[in-house]
Amino acid sequence: MKILVVDDSRVMRQIVIRTLRQSGYAGHDVVEAENGLRAVEMVATEKPDLVLSDWNMPEMNGIDALAHLRASGSEVPFGFVTSEGSEEMRARAAAAGALFLIAKPFTPELFDEALSAVLPRA
């Protein structure tokens, strides 16, 4: 399966990819985008099976990217990995169609908890 990791911080994309591996999801194809606008383009061209996205990013933030995807008919499974972990943000994420929200800093266990329902271990 293919996973699109979206974050404007290069080091955070590395950490997300490392944590995927540590939580038992090594072996999937991973592609990266540095903002929401690029993520929307890459959902069309790369056809990922899951999007893991930051919330606050330049060009287009994560919640706008999700809204854009859903408005254009994309049903790609989408989860947030963000430092915005408040109940209000979780509610907004769910209302926009996100499957989960993982708050930074995160652990491999938190990743596994969120991903086990949507992603097979590879």
Partner: protein, 161 residues
């Protein structure tokens, strides 16, 4: 404004999770950034853009935390400490550390929502008003942090009003 001033355990847990290593923490004398004591300062604002808090890392901790989060070799961090400034990769990594550290303020129930507004890296000029805030006494926590495999430095969390 209701800003949560994190206790030592919250800082230790955050840095341990973020750097992927069990950091240890002990109390330290207040960090006073200035020309002889370069420090990285993260400026946090509330939704009205009022400066609510700062997080300061002295130069060694700036280098060690910036390196540890990205698995950068310790020698790169040591070189930065010797040279008195941070290379781009450590600066970029440290920005992410300070960005995520906002959860120290936001995870407390009822606390104001803050976000990272700016980062002034160690070794570069710091705006005077930010320096003045950093020298606030009283509403602050100063801690010595040991990052395994890298080294020890000081972190200060300062409430600015």
């Amino acid at each position: 404004m209701k800003v949560h001033l994190p206790v030592a355990k919250e800082v230790r847990d955050l840095l341990s999770d973020l750097l992927g290593k069990p950091v240890s923490i002990e109390p330290a004398a207040p960090l006073a950034p200035g020309p002889k004591r370069p420090a990285t300062i993260g400026v946090y604002v509330d939704d009205s853009l009022r400066v609510a808090a700062l997080i300061c890392f002295d130069l060694p901790l700036s280098a060690y935390a910036g390196a540890a989060i990205g698995l950068v070799p310790p020698q790169v961090a040591e070189d930065a400490v010797t040279q008195g400034s941070l290379p781009e990769v450590l600066r970029e990594n440290l920005h992410e550390v300070l960005n995520i550290a906002v959860s120290l303020f936001n995870s407390a129930p009822g606390a104001d929502h803050l976000r990272l507004h700016a980062m002034h890296p160690a070794g570069e000029p710091t705006p005077r008003d930010v320096l003045v805030h950093a020298l606030t006494l009283g509403r602050r926590t100063d801690m010595r942090v040991d990052v395994p495999y890298y080294g020890t430095g000081i972190i200060s969390v300062v409430q600015t009003f």
